[in-house]
């Protein structure tokens, strides 16, 4: 291999490594909200290194305690939904610093009220044995509101509801329709396949 080709290959490998790091870090942040919303201690614990620290409003401590505290806090609501939006990330070797905007929506139990809020997860992550995980997380809060959620309890559209255990369809592999819906589908004619052009690149 020529010197120039070697240099080019090394640069490509470095760029590829950067993209993979960005993706892995982003996945880690997203896994956290998934674990929290499903009250899944295994998923939640898996996004932190064993010696990591979390600081959430009044709480500061290590992860085994944080996971118990966080799940107890979220379990007080009928359901929770945490969405990650704006995300910035600086990588310096095996350390990364990220800021991830989050908005959450909490349904109050035995009530028509919905509580919403927004804030930012500020994280220091480290890559150890090839895996990016959080070593320090701080939650900063920006806004909160409460609104009328009567619309929800009526559910005139019959939307499917999630659960906070492994029965939630997000755990199912492969994803299938429940038997009742599969029967509904069986009554419908299958569309005839039409030739289609490949998606424009």
């Amino acid at each position: 291999m020529s010197k120039a080709a070697e240099t080019r290959l090394r640069r490509l490998e470095k760029e590829l490594r950067y993209l993979r790091d960005r993706q892995d870090i982003f996945d880690c942040i997203h896994r956290y909200t998934r674990g929290l919303d499903r009250l899944d201690a295994r998923i939640l614990t898996g996004v932190y290194h064993p010696d990591a620290v979390d600081n959430h409003s009044g709480f500061v401590g290590y992860i085994p305690e944080f996971v118990k505290w966080g799940i107890a806090l979220e379990a007080r609501y009928a359901s929770t939904h945490h969405g990650i939006t704006t995300h910035t990330c600086d990588i310096d070797g095996d350390t990364a610093h990220t800021e991830s905007y989050v908005h959450w929506f909490l349904r109050l139990k035995d009530s028509d009220r919905v509580r919403a809020g927004g804030g930012r997860y500020v994280d220091r992550l480290e890559r150890r044995n090839g895996a990016w995980k959080i070593t320090l997380r701080r939650l900063l809060m920006d806004w909160q509101l409460e609104a009328d959620g009567a619309l929800w309890n009526a559910n005139v559209e019959s939307f499917a509801l999630g659960t906070r255990d492994h029965g939630d369809p997000s755990y199912q592999r492969p994803l299938t329709l429940p038997a009742k819906l599969a029967r509904q589908l069986a009554a419908k004619p299958k569309p005839k396949p039409k030739p289609r052009t490949a998606r424009r690149k």
Binding site: R20, G83, T85, H103, A147, W152, S170, L175, K188
Partner: protein
């Protein structure tokens, strides 16, 4: 991390293509564009949305009719996204925040849920094979602040929406406003 750059690169391309497909659905739905919407699915794909379960030609008509009946405008925002790829099959969960402006002009409906997708890569293209929508929460809020920000262009449900324009330009009235202003200093 696997050391083989070609495999890593393919993984990243797959991840990007899957996220693009999930985003494309939202865009097609919010523009009421049946071509963009249907293109996010394989021809034999199935969608389950509330009372609806069925194939895509029927689904895209049902979806647009539902949104046209009660609303003036809506956005479906994709947030948290997780994705597992196993060969030519992928499982993705994509959180969505939907916001719909009611025809009464006074209320806005806000809701959140999750699109659960089984995607398949066929002939090099990732598309949805099965989608199930789970809704987590909804509320209605006072939307009367709408209209207090004059001058903003509203979106459309046809190809005249500004997002289709190539290259993107200003509206003629804005071009005129701009022409009356002194150019920026420096390179211009």
């Amino acid at each position: 991390m696997a050391a083989d750059p070609a495999r890593q690169l393919q993984y990243l391309l797959d991840r990007q293509a899957i996220l693009d497909c999930v985003y494309q659905y939202s865009r097609g739905l919010d523009r009421h564009d049946v071509d963009v919407l249907a293109d996010a699915y394989h021809p034999d794909a199935v969608d389950h949305h509330g009372r609806f379960v069925g194939y895509i030609p029927e689904f895209v008509q049902w979806g647009n009719a539902l949104h046209e009946a009660d609303y003036l405008a809506h956005t479906h925002n994709i947030t948290t996204h997780t994705c597992e790829i196993d060969g030519d099959t992928a499982h993705a969960e994509s959180y969505v925040i939907f916001v719909l402006r009611r025809k009464d002009g006074r209320t806005v409906q806000i809701g959140g849920g999750r699109y659960l997708d089984r995607l398949e890569k066929r002939a090099g293209d990732w598309r949805i094979a099965l989608r199930r929508l789970i809704v987590d929460w909804r509320f209605e809020a006072d939307g009367t602040a709408w209209g207090t920000l004059p001058g903003y262009e509203e979106g459309r449900w046809d190809r005249d929406d500004r997002s289709y324009q190539r290259p993107l330009r200003l509206r003629p009235q804005d071009e005129a406003k701009l022409a009356a202003k002194a150019g920026p200093p420096g390179v211009f």
